[in-house]
Symmetry: C2
Subunit: 506 residues, 2 copies
């Protein structure tokens, strides 16, 4: 019974959420910091999750006709020169390649040599270099639309880094499209937002709010930035994906012109959209508990781990042969486009073995010993239940219902997260309550403080700025799906015609 009260992760979420986050990653063996400042090493368990995310999203993209391509890692400095606003937002903190050689210096150390005539920037995002390609690929309306996606690494020289959430190098996909009409480009940007929402909600089991960013929070150079926002267990918001309608801004900077059906030379309308390894951070902070991460079954690197129980060598032979047979059966079952993924952990029984798979978040743990075999049954633990809450199933029933059980876990994770968000989202219409809500010291019930505040905003950047400065609270989004309503701005009290989500954010 002691394992039921002891937790695998120290500190607990309650004790120190940021430190819990680091410890969960360590305990699950998903990733670690590298000797290169701000860059992470994604270890096999973390990378296998990313591969499943990539495969799922990639299939969604391809189903709607988006094609993958690959563009250079380096971007000539002059490309940034073209896009003033973009640089302002992005290019300031980036890795700059200035030399193309190493030489042995007089004291025997290696030093850079071969200075480049023009420095190269390691891509922080690829609008400029892809825009340049589009300008060559497009000459007539018949060449449009172009819908391209790239899976790549990008680099942004972040000052404070945290594995998955904010790293100097990260992995992502960036989609870039060019269209003959404004309407078509806007439609695509909205469509991609729906693809992301579908992926994050139905595969990652993370509920999201779809919305627009305010002008202040937009991607540099975008006319409109759409986003999905999720609430983490510490009630802070995480931006889980963005889709940008870029108008003709990048088309003008990159000279993406075409001859339209009337024979006129006009600029294209472009979009870009991306999600990154940051989502993994969001997954951990949404589903993790004090025993480690919980993997949503539809993306989990392994669906089930089989744990043989035996004392004597002849027992081992018998148990292992039973397990081999069972794993074959399970692997022949398909679950969301992949065969059921089975791990078999033959290590000695003991404290570490079971807990390792709990910490890694494997949806199902199955113990099988001689007594189970005698009954043709298996002893199953679900990761969404307490570690010691295990149930015996007839083997046949377990095999037959495994996809339903996985889906039940998936649903359970989503519903927990949704219920958490709902209980920490409140409508606030007066300034004092709003300030108290985001200032735990001002209240007698800190446990219900913080989260999403749904409040009126007049649309003035100045009110937004003041709130950010005073409370470090930002407008996460102007939600898409809610009817407009009349009210007064939570900051200045002037009339407002819509409500927005305010929160502290990652």
């Amino acid at each position: 019974m002691s394992t039921q009260t002891k937790t695998a992760i120290s500190p607990t979420r309650q004790e120190d959420y940021p430190e819990w986050y680091q410890q969960v990653i360590k305990a699950s063996d998903m990733a670690e910091n590298s000797p290169v400042r701000g860059c992470m090493i994604i270890k096999p368990w973390g990378y296998a999750l990313w591969e499943n995310m990539v495969q799922t999203l990639d299939t969604m993209f391809k189903e709607i006709g988006i094609k993958n391509a690959y563009f250079p890692l380096f971007i000539p400095l002059e490309f940034f020169q073209k896009e003033a606003e973009h640089v302002e937002g992005f290019a300031k903190e980036c890795a700059v390649v200035t030399h193309h050689k190493l030489e042995v210096s007089e004291n025997g150390t290696l030093v850079p040599s071969g200075q480049l005539a023009e420095p190269l920037i390691v891509r922080p995002t690829s609008e400029t270099i892809i825009g340049d390609a589009f300008s060559r690929w497009v000459s007539s309306y018949r060449d449009l639309p172009i819908r391209i996606n790239q899976w790549a690494n990008v680099v942004r020289w972040e000052m404070r880094t945290r594995i998955f959430l904010r790293t100097t190098e990260f992995l992502w996909q960036e989609g870039h499209t060019a269209h003959a009409s404004e309407q078509e480009a806007v439609k695509l940007a909205y469509h991609m937002l729906n693809v992301y929402a579908n992926f994050v909600e139905n595969y990652m089991a993370i509920p999201v709010i779809k919305g627009q960013k305010t002008p202040t929070e937009r991607f540099p150079g975008a006319e409109e930035t759409l986003c999905i926002e999720a609430m983490m267990q510490d009630r802070k918001a995480l931006q889980a994906g963005t889709s940008h309608f870029l108008g003709q801004n990048f088309a003008k900077a990159s000279n993406i012109q075409f001859q339209d059906a009337q024979g006129d030379q006009v600029y294209a309308w472009t979009t870009s959209w991306g999600v990154s390894t940051r989502l993994i951070g969001g997954l951990i902070m949404t589903h993790g508990d004090d025993n480690g991460i919980i993997m949503p079954p539809r993306l989990s690197p392994a669906h089930v781990v089989l744990l043989p129980i035996f004392r004597k060598p002849d027992e081992k032979t018998k148990v292992m042969s039973y397990i081999e047979q069972l794993s074959k059966e399970l692997r022949s079952i398909s679950y969301y486009g992949r065969p059921i993924s089975v791990e078999i952990d033959e290590r000695e029984i003991g404290g570490a073995r079971g807990w390792d798979w709990i910490k890694k978040g494997t949806p199902l743990r199955v113990e099988i010993g001689p007594r189970d075999i005698a009954n043709d049954s298996v002893f199953v633990g679900r990761r969404d239940k307490e570690p010691n809450e295990k149930v015996s199933f007839k083997r046949e029933v377990f095999v037959k219902t495994i996809t339903e059980v996985l889906d039940d876990i998936q649903r359970n994770l989503y519903e927990r997260a949704l219920s958490h968000r709902q209980s920490h989202t409140i409508s606030i219409q007066d300034k004092k309550t709003f300030y108290d809500y985001f200032t735990p010291a001002n209240t007698t019930k800190p446990e219900i403080h913080g989260g999403f505040a749904y409040s009126h905003w007049c649309g003035q950047a100045e009110c937004e700025r003041q709130i950010k400065e005073e409370l470090t609270v930002t407008i996460r989004c102007i939600p898409l799906s809610v009817p407009k309503s009349q009210g007064t701005c939570i900051y200045c009290g002037k009339p407002s015609s819509y409500e927005v989500y305010f929160a502290k954010a990652y």
Copy 2:
């Protein structure tokens, strides 16, 4: 008939092989040069081929327990300092990041700022950074073996670049393993060579010779470099994959030590192995003809293109509905782990349409018009036959036999390439013939000159160096599968106990 004699690519292979290569890539729309020196843009048709290559290899790796992970793009300069021999061979020509900021200068241009205390190298290969991780991950023999693979971009500052064959940035996989025993590491290095040979022969349809590199040609720091070598249509060799047994060299440089079963602290034995987008260049130069590339069916981005033939709108409706139905049927068929990939080209009938798919190398082109539909038949062109050689099949037969036909094309491509290599590989045992063979001016029959010479070599680096200097001919490999034989060195005439493959190479 005119299309039968006219070729789609100008110049032909005969006229100018290097230029033909560039034109084939352009005509197939696979890739293009980018504005960044030596870096390519891989366009959707080329990238889809790469994706199929990746998927196939990745499945092979996973089947033998290799796990994917991801390591930083940047490597601290000090890591190179540790590995003198490695640096000598590699790190001299590489991209060096020295700054992490851009600033607007007085005259309004962007300039690098924020100089790094220690420069970072953009990875040319990851032995050093992965070795550093292994040194932290390994402490006991129980932690071994570690078998890791990474799909990544790497950068080597090449002076002369050529799309796919030699580019500043390229995509590859690099496998890295650490073992408790020398024997196990050697075995793994040989095993990976076999995986590569299997992939390149059975999927890319490129016959290869498996062998060892001479000490001179080894990977810097390796004890043994194994390779597969292929012959291109211009009879030059292309190294198509390498697998290195690194002994304890990198383990010592990176301090990968562990406690063995006897309790002693010892160094691990490591390997590394990789293939890259260079293989795409090899594919083009092996299978391309004067009409464009020919895609081996098992990796082709599309297996079949359906080309509707119609004149009137009502014909179009009828034909397109027939084609939709047929494509559904075809897509339900599986071929080497992927569903049959079908393209439908609705553009107007005319010169360009059919030729576009020939230039792209699509294995099967299927024309369908009202008359074909009346007969319930389809009109099929195979990419390994002449463009105008088309055959009518009953639709039912076509569907039923499509995987056999694809495999017939696959086999045909392999056999053509094998026969080409065989007819241009000769055993030479005297120096004059050897020199004439590699000096077209010395002979009356230049069309049979060049290729692979299979000759005795005494094992002296000096003989190898002389031959390289005088003829630009290198030892491609010491083949694995041939019994040793007594003879005399082709260069110095001293006794030799084995034969090797000599060739000019990419």
